[in-house]
Amino acid sequence: MSAHNESILREPLITGENITYSKITNDVLVPVENKPNKAWWIGFGIAVAFALTWVVTISYTFWVGLGTWGLNKTVGWAWDITGFVWWVGIGHAGTLISAVLLLFRQNWRNSINRSAEAMTIFAVICAATYIFAHMGRPWLAYWVFPLPNQFGSLWVNFNSPLVWDVFAISTYFSVSLVFWYTGLLPDIATIRDRATGARRRIYSILSFGWAGSVKNWQRFEAVSLILAGVSTPLVLSVHTIVSFDFATSLEPGWHTTIFPPYFVAGAIFSGFAMVQTLLLIARKVMKWENYITMFHIESMNKVIIVTGSIVGVAYLTELFIAWYSGVEYEQYAFLNRISGPYWWAYWSMMTCNVISPQLFWFKKIRTSIWASWVLSIVVNIGMWFERFVIIVTSLHRDFIPSSWVMFYPTVVDVLLFVGSIGVFFTLFLLFLRVLPGIAMAEVKLILKSSSDQAKQKLIREGKVDPEQAEFYKNSLEKYDSVSKTEYANI
């Protein structure tokens, strides 16, 4: 049945009074059906300015070549691969929310999965730009695929983790796109059936003819579940394979078996931070406080503490193993990270990723919007430093001291990175304008079981144990979308 009663002890996933199915549609479609507000234009203007910077710098890079970057003969990977791994990692939260949380029946994913999946797609696009750019001759990018060629069909080397990475990233992008778009069909149909004129025609094409019949929905649910099932191992494999790019080499600091789980945890960590960064603003600007509630924010913060702590344990394990291995190159690589010329990068990483997320153990901080937002930015910065530390401080001093150098980024390096953030935000802001940022059908699904009004009704009707009702009321304290005075009288 659609409306089984959920335990009263669970916090509500939808707050607000008189929420009806049509109110959900209206609230979610406000940005899609109306002219954008000032906040959107300001954000979009800034994002486009950065995106144009990206266009200019990437064009310059393609025109002139990789000499525009700060790379040298020792440090052959730096900001490019740092940016690539950073963006791919950010993408992981979207798939985690949409796939893993679906398998675990975590209903709070329903109102954040759509934006998170969109974020995944845009983040992987940004990551892909680095892949193309770092090839140096992007017009030969098809060489990474096993295509018949003029060299008597000399195939690509399938023993190379870089080739695995090509397959992993392209599969990841393709499957995420399918997952996202299939999920969007019913919501696009909703926009279509409310629109008129040219908008109706456009959304009609995009909706693929969705009608919402029993068979449509039955197959839709089967597809969602199976896609979630295959995406779960996929998302874990993708960052595992990204970590193989490093771990299968012999470079001190890279050649470690801990990399796959450590990278996956880091990816989820940074991805959730980016979801927080985006949604805390989106819920405010779009007035979605009733759908993306404090419970969602707190749950995401809890995921951030867990994954941040896993990452912290991984850092300490790396240090211990480097010492315990007795390999002097390995030992030096880590000594150099901690106290070498890039000590500030290492300690920024440690502070941002390991120490500051521990603040979320305090409920006050975990349920504060400002603190959550600031810490999510801190985590994003920390995770960028993590990749920088792994890549640059390992490469710049490895086996032969005569080859030791420092890496200095050029203006192009910096602008390319800042610009890619602009590209990401431009795409995300456009997404919010043309497609529903909250999966309407999925939120409607939980309205009768998990909303505050449904739970209040049960309390009013005396269907729940008063002690549990009291517990429930107390759990609403933290909600910024629930007014406490109204609660006094039930």
Partner: protein, 178 residues
């Protein structure tokens, strides 16, 4: 006889909708289809729809992906152009695992998606077969074929008794999308 083709019962609540289906079934009124803005769990069993076979299709596509990937890598690396890399065997099976896995997932996902589109007749630009515009917004709609069940008043009463907020007698099957 009237020109009414379909009778649509509009419900505001999914539980009332389920009740309406029960009522119609008790009175042997055939239900053409049900249109809802969200999935209703348990409705397929009630209406006697069979379990979807899409997961089987997904498995078969996945298996195709596994076989394709493995045989492709085997052909290229072991049969067509084996390379001597430090004297290691050309058939380095563990190295085949990542790409075999990725292509399994890719084939399963895309194969299932296209099967899903094919089974539902979905494609970009298809004219939507929508009976009522609010079925994708806030109304849960039972459609009854009026020609097969030529007793509109009885159907209307049954639907209203079950909690339908509105009953429509439509002379056109679908909302025009021209």
């Amino acid at each position: 006889m009237s020109n009414v083709k379909y009778i649509l019962g509009h419900f505001e609540d999914p539980d009332d909708l389920m009740h309406g289906i029960e009522k119609l079934q008790e009175n042997n009124v055939g239900i053409y289809d049900v249109y809802t803005p969200m999935p209703i769990h348990g409705i397929e069993e009630k209406l006697g729809y069979k379990r979807s076979r899409l997961p089987i299709a997904a498995f078969c596509f996945g298996l195709t992906g596994t076989i394709t990937a493995f045989s492709m890598i085997y052909y290229m690396l072991v049969y067509d152009w084996p390379m001597n890399i430090g004297g290691k065997p050309a058939f380095a099976m563990p190295n085949f695992v990542p790409i075999t896995f990725e292509l399994t997932v890719l084939f399963a996902a895309y194969g299932m998606m296209f099967t899903f589109f094919y089974a539902n007749h979905f494609f970009p630009g298809r004219a939507p077969r929508v009976m009522d515009l609010r079925a994708t917004d806030d109304r849960f709609i039972i459609a009854v074929d009026a020609k097969a069940n030529p007793y509109p008043d009885k159907i209307e009463n049954l639907l209203k008794d079950a909690g339908a907020v509105e009953v429509k007698h439509n002379e056109r099957k679908y909302v025009s999308y021209e």
